[in-house]
Structure formats: structure tokens, C-alpha cells
Symmetry: C2
Subunit: 198 residues, 2 copies
């Protein structure tokens, strides 16, 4: 016999274990926490889950999460520069720098032939539509510095250059505050290759 | 601007961050997972939260989680031996051994004067009531081997001994498969003191 097998407990453990990187033990801890929590606070939790599916949608223009479309970025920010990222959370990382004042474009994926994701499966078409009005002068491609991110950057760059739009890629090199000794060879090679005159 | 500040997203991140050991970053990952999940699966998650508060209660007898009281353990298991534990999850750990066939008694806490938890704040009174019928011959105290767990074990032991009930404590010593070299001094002293003739 095992209290984890009582149906409502087993069901909640199963739901928690669907969250990213949550194993059975962690899901159990979350479930016990919920059992001990007040009715009121669990009701709030459940409501916040339902609420998000009801209220959050994708911005028709940039593809970021928003309550209304077009989103605040597309309504209020400068369209001269558009930063292209893979996922909404990447736009948060860039916002945190405080150094980007342009708009975003969320691809919702990167080109990955092995996983069956081609250029038509991500929001490249929508990016081209946004550039139609001729306002945008530069597109910064900020996909991750991995094979798929690089391939996607290259693909978009080849599409946009004939349109006379400046296409740039975020710099790759050794991280600030890191030590050369621990940098991997690919990163260090890239840092040497992309050296800047000072 | 930051999409994490959009009210429904901020609210869900806040709810997830109330779970044990969940920081802001993890709560964000969980929230993004929920935004991307299907309406159906999020509805199921919300329902399983509400469902557990509705259906799971404490067994009036042993204090464990159950759908009906008395629970399956109290209805079906041998009352000659009762194992006293701090929390419901401790009963799961003991069930997993497969070596205990008696009933449980969940204290829902341990005596901890510094945190203001006295003997009347945990389910000791309920344990005494259970012993009234004279069926129980032995009470195994399986609280954790820390200061509060030991104090609670001692307190219960002093209460029960005058009633003619055998009171035992789970053995403390070095873990199976561990190495002496890495055992802490207190554990090793205890293991020496509690040595068994073979």
C-alpha cells in the first residue's frame, strides 16, 4: 500500500511530473506541498493556470506573448531595428541588458532538418511581411550560437541581404569575467578570429 | 518592458515560485511550459489541483492522507504494531521497504520548543487514544535521527512505557553500502555503541 497510489494524489504527481526537468521525487514534493496548502491558495494556483490560457496569446506581428495584439513592443518601440530570436524568453534576456530599444521578432523555433523543422515551420514569412514597409534598416539575428541557430541566421541573412537590409549577428567570443583557461576551443577560436582593434 | 510583467504571466510565475525549492528562474520555465501546453492539458492540471483539495483528507485515526476515513491502513492492517512517523511521506519510505505490515501513526510534526511546537501541537493525544483498546503490543518510533526527532521519540517512549507497551526506535548506524571513512563521527559513535553480536 502506498498513499502515492491514492487516485487524486497519483493524478497530481503525474501532472507535476510533466513540467520540464521535474522527476517523480520532485513531483511528489510539490504534490505534498499542495495537499498541505490552504484551499484558498490552491484555488488561486488553479485559477492562474486557467487564466493564462485564456488571456495570453501570440502577437500577430512579432509572435511574442501578449494580452493584446499588436503587443506593447510592436506598438511603442522603434521599428528601425528588429532583433530576431528563437523563443519569447530570449527577448527577456535581451531586455534585461537594457541596451536594445528596437522591436523583436520571435521565430518560435530554428531550422533543424533532423527534427523535421524547415524554414516554413518557423516565423520567417512573417518577418518578410514586416519588412515590406521599408522602415526597418537593420535586422539583428540573436539565435543561439549552436548548429541550428547558426544555420537559421545564415538562411535569414541570405534572404534579407538582397532587400538592402543590414543583417547582423550577435558577437560570439569568450564570456565577460570568464577565464581563457576554461574557454572551449571553438569559442576561443571564434574569439581570435573575430578580434577587434582597440 | 518585459513579457514576464504581463499580469497573467507574472501571476503564474508567482504561483509556481511558492512551490518548495522553486526559484524565479525555475518558476519562469514552468510558466512558459504552461503557456505552450494545450488548453486541454492545462485544464487537466488545474482540475487535478482542485480535485486533491476536495477529495484528500486526513484519516481520523492515523492522520495519513486518505480519500475515506479510517484509511486503508487502519482498516486492513495489523494493529499489534504501530509505526510512528513525522509526516505522511515517511510512511511511504517505510512501505517501500516491504518489511512492515503494521499500522502507522502520523504525528504531523515533531516537538521543537524553539519553533514553538510542543507535545500538544502534534498528534500524541490521538496516539494514546488508539492504544486504549489494548490490542497494540509495540510502538516503533521512526522519527528522523535529528535533535527534534530524538526528543520526540524520548517523550513518547516515557509516556507509553508505563502503559506496558513495548516502545522501540529504528536503529541508527552507518548506511548500507557506505564507507566508514566518510561516516560522520556521531553516526559512527552510535554504530559502535549499538554494536550487535554476530
Amino acid at each position: 500500500m502506498n498513499i502515492n497510489q491514492i487516485e487524486p494524489i497519483a493524478r497530481l504527481i503525474n501532472e507535476f511530473s510533466k513540467l520540464p526537468s521535474v522527476g517523480k521525487r520532485t513531483a511528489e514534493r510539490y504534490a505534498y506541498h499542495i495537499i498541505r496548502a490552504s484551499d484558498e491558495s490552491v484555488k488561486n494556483f488553479a485559477e492562474s493556470l486557467l487564466n493564462i490560457k485564456e488571456k495570453i496569446k501570440f502577437c500577430d506581428v512579432c509572435g511574442n506573448y501578449t494580452e493584446q495584439t499588436p503587443c506593447a513592443f510592436c506598438r511603442e518601440r522603434d521599428k528601425k531595428i528588429i532583433c530576431v530570436v528563437k523563443e519569447p524568453k530570449d527577448s527577456i534576456a535581451i531586455e534585461k541588458t537594457g541596451n536594445f530599444k528596437g522591436q523583436y521578432h520571435i521565430l518560435h523555433g530554428v531550422i533543424n532538418p533532423l527534427a523535421g523543422v524547415g524554414p516554413n515551420d518557423i516565423r520567417i514569412k512573417e518577418l518578410l511581411t514586416r519588412l515590406d514597409d521599408g522602415i526597418t534598416q537593420e535586422v539583428i539575428i540573436a539565435t543561439n550560437p549552436d548548429v541550428e541557430g547558426e544555420a537559421t541566421a545564415l538562411y535569414i541573412s541570405r534572404l534579407l541581404k538582397p532587400l538592402g537590409i543590414k543583417v547582423s549577428r550577435i558577437a560570439q567570443g569568450i564570456s565577460m569575467g570568464s577565464e581563457l583557461e576554461y574557454a572551449d576551443e571553438v569559442t576561443l577560436s571564434k574569439a581570435l578570429l573575430d578580434r577587434k582593434e582597440i
